[in-house]
Assembly symmetry: C2
Homo-oligomer: 417 residues x 2
Amino acid sequence: MLGRGEAVTVEAARNILNFSYIPPEPEKEEISLYEALGRVLAEDIISETPLPEFPRSSMDGYAVFASDTFGASEQLPAYLKISGEIVMGEAASGPLSRGQAIAIPTGGMLPDGADAVVMLEHTQILNVGELEVVRPVAPGENVIQPGDDISAGEAAFTRGHRLRPQDLGALAGIGITRAPVFKRPKVAIINTGNEIVPAEKAPRPGQVRDVNSYILAGLVRRAGGVPVLKGIFRDEFGPIREAMGSAISECELVAITGGSSVGTRDLTEKVINDIEPGIIVHGVSVKPGKPVIIGIVSGKPVFGLPGHPVAVAVCFELFLRPLLKKISGEIDPLEALGIPGARVVEARMSRNYSSVPGREDHLGVMLKLEEGELWAYPVLGKSGLIFTLAKSHGTAVIPADRPGIAKGEKVIVRLFD
Amino acid sequence: MLGRGEAVTVEAARNILNFSYIPPEPEKEEISLYEALGRVLAEDIISETPLPEFPRSSMDGYAVFASDTFGASEQLPAYLKISGEIVMGEAASGPLSRGQAIAIPTGGMLPDGADAVVMLEHTQILNVGELEVVRPVAPGENVIQPGDDISAGEAAFTRGHRLRPQDLGALAGIGITRAPVFKRPKVAIINTGNEIVPAEKAPRPGQVRDVNSYILAGLVRRAGGVPVLKGIFRDEFGPIREAMGSAISECELVAITGGSSVGTRDLTEKVINDIEPGIIVHGVSVKPGKPVIIGIVSGKPVFGLPGHPVAVAVCFELFLRPLLKKISGEIDPLEALGIPGARVVEARMSRNYSSVPGREDHLGVMLKLEEGELWAYPVLGKSGLIFTLAKSHGTAVIPADRPGIAKGEKVIVRLFD
């Protein structure tokens, strides 16, 4: 059923894709920091200011000259003159003199001269503004020095970093309230099939509602992309060719879903080849998803996905999600450490499952806890059935080098987020 | 430093909170399915239609009466009359008669009478519209029956389910293009401190830029809530009291950040108590985050968070994130299975770290791969330093019952998403 070309392994398909396509530098834009959550930095960020900008107390207490407290103890306290108090958010009115102490709250700015803070607990106020100090402090003790958090000229973040909540805070802290980020990749979604009607329409006999637009739009959004819905097309060359042409010029990636019958698959190939004979993968040894076509057309990746929703979802995870990450300009430090991009758990298979050697199988599974152990129950169904995915907690992968999995064996389950 | 009340363990604080506060039923709204990704269903969804609505072929081939093929083999084929072809998206013009076969594509609607599909590969067209069938098919073979995916009257999803991409597809498949969802919880963020200036302003000596608004807004969004920024307030009773009052009436949860010095913490307590003496937790044995105050005021949870950004983030993970999940109406099936809500990895500690028995420590760590093993390097710094979090890949938790962790021991690291 594969027509021209042979199905290759998932790994081979990935390698071919990586070899054939190097994403161009994404376009940049500058946006408000409040809108930057989850966006990818387009530039290295160098802090222009030290943080903190001034020495700050990390305790409630008294700012002092550390040397004035040397040797102080319960038996032999040091006595200092209280010169006033530091007001939060303001600099001291003048420098501290030797023999003086000034009250300071946590986060307060040390006056010139002071080089340490004595904790409130280690002091006692005597009459007429005299302070008794019963423990010595070392220079710098209980003080956060200028630049302790980040120094001026230091790299705060590198280009390719995806911004998390704490990163927004860190950028705000150094005064960067507009962030240079890469534009999000636009993904064109073209759905084909004479039988497909918009989901809000009542299908006539023989017709089915559009499911794939919703799944793909959701998956693209989750992967940080912008779905561009090109609409539903009948299996006719002209309109699909036109949609594909505009999709390629407008978007960074194109996904066209179609039936997996010979005819509609051939049509997708024909449309792609009419633009450029750029098909690089003609089918992958994976279940579901085998009939997937991958091409590079006008320098953009184009995926011909089977029409079955479960196959669409599996192909997305295998190929589109990692590709979108690259296209978005993200450099993920955890990926380099071999940490999976999704939550995974280990579970025991609830039943025997036989696969075909050389083929990678993706199984929707429901998890159950039995006697303290997680079990993976395959949610079986013909691959076109969307509710197998809706009822699943995640997918178990049966690797290509395994003929199957026996009941009770452990499998890795990738959880849906 | 805790003022009134004693610090309790993290678990005790959670128990007190769960005991004192039961979220009310969230308000509902109906939204477009395209906007419903990540939202929580406010109603059970019962499918009004079976899916598929008609028997569909799962293969390219010929729809037949199965009994017409019984006994067919290469040696003794069955011969059927080809009555035409099923057009995708349309019903057959009439029923199939015994002895007939009709060409059908994958996904095509079986005509009345036909009860199975013979694969194309097991047939051959003879002259003048006669089909040779070399293998028998059983009734129902290669056919997806009406209701195989979901039947009419069956529960598609239950209230409290958070919608994933495949769920949007499943809902579209049964014609539900507007989804009844719970409104997202609104979280008021009040920042206090005489030293705090908006991030876009240049701070004068003694002043620092607002960091917590950005961190909290990002964390709230990530948790599915809507941040409502009430602004930055000086440490004065009146304006904070007013902001708190409006926050409580507008929002489902209030977070007020302030300094951890005695004075500002007392002010937060005073403001809360002026509305209602509803403080239920006066400090938690956790580092950082110890001075956190938790109250229930006018039936809404109010968190008095320390001003230190790292403590804000830790308190959010410990208390606000799980609470927001509850307030949002979500029922998470994976939580019931004991699966952590975030990606976690195991890593070896790069150095000795000593804690205090009875206190839970949260450490920002950077992960490194060394000789095939993950190592967790604590990013140390005084807890007010935001870049310790920005440089971390996740947090390691030193449980309260451990006096510390030795170099080389394994810790669980919760990764930031």
